[in-house]
């Protein structure tokens, strides 16, 4: 089992993700430069957080046209697990691998804090081990995280269980103050209809060790371990 972590110019969570996969999850992972056009050695792909191309034009749009994305598209079509974290989520959306758009936070501020997330669906490979309503704590750090989609398409996402994570308060209820960026319905993460492509704004790689969590939690691990377990079963 081998996981590719794609590095775009401006990625900055690449090494954190590599560290978690190699040292915490104990799986083989490599950093792969975005100009590589062959990912045949890999079973899964992670697009890490950061500011690819300095967010020019729109967060994620220029990276969506990187040579490696052709290969990522093919792997997505083959049903391989593809995970986009923060800027990686923005890239997946701009590449058309996930529906919707990620707009500027409604506060117009960069938001960096720990949030509570509720699992809405376990359709994604990355949440398959979780029950609906399970609460996770992870940090967010972004300026363009306001998930937007038109009402009709939103209904379709609900119907197909593609809404995976929502921002909630400590008791697990969504409300205005628990929504850090103005996302429609407090959406924090979605997957494609097949469940193999998953994007989320929170950072599971920053929440995988108790030492790094103010709550002594390691909730981010479940996202990676669900993927690893899936790959082992294949």
């Amino acid at each position: 089992m081998r996981v590719a972590i794609i590095q775009f110019p401006g990625s900055n969570c690449d090494f954190d993700t590599l560290y978690v996969l190699n040292n915490v999850m104990k799986v083989k992972a490599d950093l792969v430069w975005h100009k590589k056009d062959d990912l045949s050695d890999y079973d899964a792909v992670i697009l890490p957080g950061g500011f690819s191309y300095g967010d020019r034009l729109r967060a994620g749009i220029i990276a969506a046209y990187s040579p490696v994305m052709k290969e990522v598209r093919m792997m997505a079509k083959d049903g391989r697990p593809i995970l986009g974290i923060c800027n990686g989520f923005q890239i997946l959306v701009e590449a058309g691998l996930l529906p919707g758009a990620l707009l500027r936070n409604s506060s117009l501020k960069f938001v960096c804090k720990w949030v509570n997330l509720s699992v809405v669906s376990n359709k994604a490979i990355f949440t398959r081990r979780l029950e609906k309503g399970h609460l996770l704590r992870m940090p967010i750090a972004h300026n363009e995280g306001r998930y937007f989609i038109e009402e009709d398409d939103l209904k379709e996402l609900y119907k197909r269980n593609q809404i995976i994570l929502k921002y909630v308060d400590e008791s697990g209820k969504p409300n205005e103050s628990s929504n850090p960026n103005g996302s429609i319905d407090g959406i924090a993460g979605i997957c494609n209809d097949e469940g193999n492509v998953f994007g989320l704004m929170p950072h599971p790689e920053r929440a995988s060790e108790e030492l790094l969590s103010p709550f002594n939690t390691n909730d981010g691990r479940i996202i990676f371990s669900s993927m690893i377990e899936y790959l082992k079963e294949r």
């Binding site: 749009i61 046209y65 919707g100 758009a101 500027r104 937007f148 038109e150 009402e151 398409d153």
Partner: protein, 86 residues
């Protein structure tokens, strides 16, 4: 061949809030005494200098590239294309 200036304006769809426009209206214009202004929407403007046989062709090239290269995200944005001096 002539060079034409083509302007591409990208803005949020009416159904997607524009908090920047709202802040400009609420905290700058209205507080500054300009109550006549009822709404503000911000947009991104791209100016493209395009070589083409005529203005119509220049506009068509830009229209094609906007769709093909997702200069705007059709889920959240509208995109209008205007040509200078035509």
């Amino acid at each position: 061949m002539k060079t034409y200036l083509v302007k591409v304006t990208i803005e949020n769809k009416p159904s997607a809030r524009d908090p920047e426009g709202e802040t400009i209206l609420k905290d700058l214009l209205i507080k500054g005494g300009y109550k006549q202004v009822k709404a503000v929407r911000t947009a991104k403007l791209l100016k493209m200098w395009v070589e083409a046989g005529n203005g119509k062709d220049a506009k068509e090239i830009v229209s094609k590239l906007c769709d093909e290269l997702r200069i705007y995200n059709p889920v959240a944005h509208t995109c209008s294309i205007n040509i200078e001096g035509e």
